[in-house]
């Protein structure tokens, strides 16, 4: 395919809490619910473990979208972790938006261990959204591009 432009494949980093969302992702796998391979999951103990630094780091290193999944509010394995994560991410995303960075590149979704289908659907939707946005150019580190 000489002249065909290579289709844009976004890089998506998904932080999943160990107790709900990672298990939800496992369930999606067990049920063979497909979502694009562009999504790579990083296991964290709780959504509250995710430091804004990690999200920026992902964008720096070439991610086109970052999604954080945790237990539903009220169901946190550690009782309150996702409440803090919720505030932190709300403010961080709002700040990124304030700086003119596409807010659709970041997302928080609560996925329980039973919601394999929701996990797959969320990832499909997120990949579609980010694909539509195209390459992340506003929060990239040019040195990391080849």
């Amino acid at each position: 395919m000489p002249n065909e432009v290579k289709a844009f494949k976004p890089k998506i980093v998904a932080f999943c809490c160990n107790w709900c969302s990672y298990a939800g992702a496992d369930l999606a796998g067990t049920n063979r619910l497909a979502y694009p391979a562009d999504v790579k999951i990083i296991r964290v103990p709780c959504s509250c473990r995710v430091n804004p630094m990690f999200i920026l780091r992902a964008f720096q290193r070439g991610a086109d979208g970052v999604i954080l999944c945790g237990c539903h509010p009220g169901d946190c394995h550690y009782t309150t972790g996702n409440y803090y994560a919720r505030r932190r991410m709300t403010l961080l995303f709002s700040m990124l938006d304030f700086l003119g960075i596409e807010k659709e590149r970041t997302r928080v979704e609560w996925v329980s261990a039973a919601e394999g289908a929701k996990f797959a659907a969320t990832m499909n939707d997120f990949v579609a959204t980010v694909t539509a946005l195209g390459e992340n150019k506003r929060l990239e580190d040019l040195r990391c591009k080849e």
Binding site: K11, V13, N18, Y22, A23, A25, D26, L27, A28, G29, T30, R32, L33, A34, Y35, A37, K40, I41, I42, R43, V44, P45, C46, C48, R49, V50, N51, P52, M53, F54, R57, A58, R61, G62, A63, G74, D75, H77, Y78, T79, T80, G81, Y84, R88, A120, C144, K145, E146
Partner: protein, 665 residues
């Protein structure tokens, strides 16, 4: 730089079908630090595990990456395997290439590429792994139960039964709690005292149980397995060891007009009193607010009549220090105050009473010796109106937003008992919904309606107005008949909402246990850990966790006891090694981490530091108790200086994974 071995599992065909396992192990062999890389049909099988063990030994591996199914499946298996050949189990990471790769992708090229990236991320993480040791902390084989109601009693008895020492701290002069005030219990209608008092006696007689009555908690320090508690034993001015409970003093005391809290102020007791006949411990207590001797130094009659010489006006509060391995909170509930509910006329008429007062009016040990008489004139009431949900399910802000759960059933009980004893009495019950789930509960309620002819009316009472002639006008709407009702009642009984005891909140602060906005203690998990607080070593028993009836309370009390026994039976606790750690050199002592810790695992210490210019400086720094920390990581993000990090999921490890995933290759 680690020496890393990579082991790619085929999982039969589960992985191998959509991931080219050979390509994965070949690609990962080229990663920095990888000295051995292979693939095998079933890594989790004994042969697979041996393959790993042999490689660890042969290549002197310092890190292992398994590309296989979810770590939730076999991480523990593999960790155990590498530990058996001397590698620290936390030097192993699992790349999930089954659930999160081969099972969801159909294209082998795509699956293989992703598997390689996931493998790289795991390798990048292992590079930064450090050997972790699960810590150990000793367990003090003694439990503390806070609150001596039926919940506390049951928990204490069960723990003692298992052979462990238990102390009960009860703020009142006797244990027994609310249940002592109740007449009969639904749905079986057996007498509360008959089933409770033997348990109270059991407590008193059980040599493993020590009761600190008339005592409160003053300070709690320490953590699971090793709490140090200070208990303030209030002066009761009677030597417990000498008092025989004969009651002579309580009949001679000249201060006769002290409202009797046991009967909810509906009759009086003396300044020296024993709350009720079956009190445990059965010893007298002097009420310092009323005792003339304590207030003015005049009288001393009780000392004179006491044959045992137990009266001691000089007695002081006594602070007892004790160590415990586990603490059970069983602080119970109280009906809410009804002063905000003037529409029900509670403060306007003596004949508008709460359900608990109704219990006392029907109890043989109550102010009327069990005959149902109107408090105002002592006459038999002929029309009684029961009002449900007073202050429950109330979002107006005056009451409580939740359902108090027990009111439907006890109101049915009251209505039924009234009709049974006084068939000439008309009984109306106004309700929003009747909630009667539970074994034999709905049958019980239906009996009240069907057999005993209680008038159940779906509707809210709008106004309760006492009339000069002693009647009480109840205005209400019947929602089903869609009509306004005006009932001339002789007695109105309000099913007041229940709320956690006021002592709960300061107690929660002391215990660093979390509470919800209604001051009920929060459980560690609403479904799976209902009798544990998120704070390790703190357990919940009874209504302090949420409204409960007696059967529920007792089952939860026993459940909490089982959890406590499970803890106390251990000699040592193994702690989760993936816990937060504060780098004292960088810590600012700002308290951000402490505020977000759900477990109270972070404390502050003043520590002396040598400064670069060779001076010393004392700084406040955070210190994490690894026995208490559960490793959620909330603190690591709250910490602006990055002093707080989480072992096993450190900032650098997670960023290395991010880098590996995003890396262009």
């Amino acid at each position: 730089m680690q020496k890393i071995g990579v082991f790619v599992c085929w999982c039969g065909s589960n992985i191998a079908q959509t991931v080219d396992v050979q390509a994965v192990s070949d690609a990962l062999a080229k990663e920095p630090g990888v000295v051995y890389s292979t693939n095998y049909q079933y890594m989790c099988s004994e042969a697979g595990q041996n393959l790993i063990k042999d490689a660890v030994k042969e290549y002197g591996l310092t890190g292992v990456v398994i590309c296989s199914c979810s770590p939730r499946m076999h991480e523990a298996t593999f960790r155990k395997a590498v530990a058996s050949v001397g590698l620290n189990p936390y030097m192993l990471e699992v790349a999930n290439i089954r659930e999160q790769c081969s099972w969801i992708h159909k294209d082998k090229e795509v699956g293989t590429e992703k598997a390689i990236i996931l493998g790289r991320a795991a390798i990048a993480k292992v590079q930064l792994n450090a050997p972790l040791q699960a810590g150990e902390s000793p367990v003090v084989k003694r439990a503390l139960v806070i609150g001596g109601g039926i919940a506390g009693i049951q928990t204490a008895l069960d723990i003692a039964e298992a052979g462990f020492e238990v102390d009960i701290v009860e703020k009142n002069p006797t244990i027994g709690g609310k249940m002592t005030q109740i007449d009969k219990t639904f749905p079986t209608l057996d007498c509360a005292a008959c089933i409770l008092t033997p348990k109270m006696v059991d407590c008193a007689q059980n040599e493993k149980i020590h009761i600190y009555s008339y005592s409160e908690l003053k300070e709690v320090k320490g953590f699971v397995g090793n709490f140090s508690v200070k208990i303030n034993k209030k002066a009761r001015y009677v030597d417990e060891n000498k008092c025989t409970g004969c009651g002579e003093c309580t009949t001679k005391c000249p201060m006769k007009n002290v409202p009797n809290e046991f009967n909810l102020g509906m009759d009086n007791r003396r300044a020296i009193y024993i709350p009720f006949a079956q009190a445990v411990p059965k010893v007298a207590t002097i009420d310092p607010n009323y005792c003339n001797m304590l207030k003015n130094g005049k009288c001393g009659l009780c000392a004179k009549v006491c044959g045992a010489g137990a009266i001691d006006y000089k007695q002081q509060d006594q602070v007892i220090e004790e160590k415990y391995g586990a603490i059970v909170v069983a602080t119970g509930y109280n009906p809410i105050k009804l002063d905000k509910f003037d529409e029900f006329g509670y403060s306007l008429s003596k004949d508008v009473i709460t359900s608990l007062e109704f219990e006392r009016l029907t109890n043989a040990a109550g102010p009327t010796s069990g005959t149902l008489l109107r408090p105002s004139d002592g006459k038999h009431p002929h029309t009684i109106v029961f009002v449900q949900c007073v202050g429950s399910r109330d979002t107006s802000g005056c009451g409580k937003p939740y359902c108090s759960k027990i009111c439907c059933m006890y109101t049915a009980k009251h209505a039924m008992l009234t009709r049974e004893k006084y068939p000439d009495t008309d009984v109306y019950v106004f309700y929003i919904d009747v909630r009667s789930p539970g074994k034999n509960y709905d049958e019980f309620y239906r009996r009240a309606v069907e057999q005993y002819g209680v008038h159940y009316i779906k509707g809210m009472v709008g106004k309760v107005a006492p009339r000069a002639d002693g009647k009480i006008m109840v205005q209400a709407s019947d929602l089903l008949a869609n009509e306004q009702l005006h009932i001339e009642a002789d007695l109105v009984v309000l099913a007041a909402a229940i709320e956690p005891d006021k002592s709960a909140r300061p107690l929660a602060t002391m215990l660093t246990a979390s509470m919800d906005t209604n001051d009920f203690f929060t459980e560690a998990h609403a479904k799976l850990r209902p009798v544990e607080s998120p704070t390790a070593g703190i357990f919940l028993s009874g209504a302090c966790q949420g409204p409960k009836d007696i059967p529920d309370t007792v089952s939860q009390a026993s459940a909490a006891a089982a959890k406590v026994i499970g803890l106390l039976v251990k000699d040592k606790l193994t702690t989760n090694p993936c816990v937060a750690q504060s780098n004292e050199l960088m810590c600012n002592g700002c308290s951000s981490c402490e505020k977000v810790c759900p477990y109270g695992a972070i404390t502050y210490i003043d520590k002396e530091f040598r400064m670069p210019d060779r001076t010393t400086r004392i700084r406040r720094v955070a210190s994490v108790n690894p026995a208490v920390c559960q490793g959620c990581g909330a603190c690591t993000v709250a910490c602006p200086s990055g002093a707080m990090d989480l072992k096993g999921f450190s900032n650098s490890q997670i960023m290395a994974e991010v880098d590996a995933i995003c890396q262009m290759k």
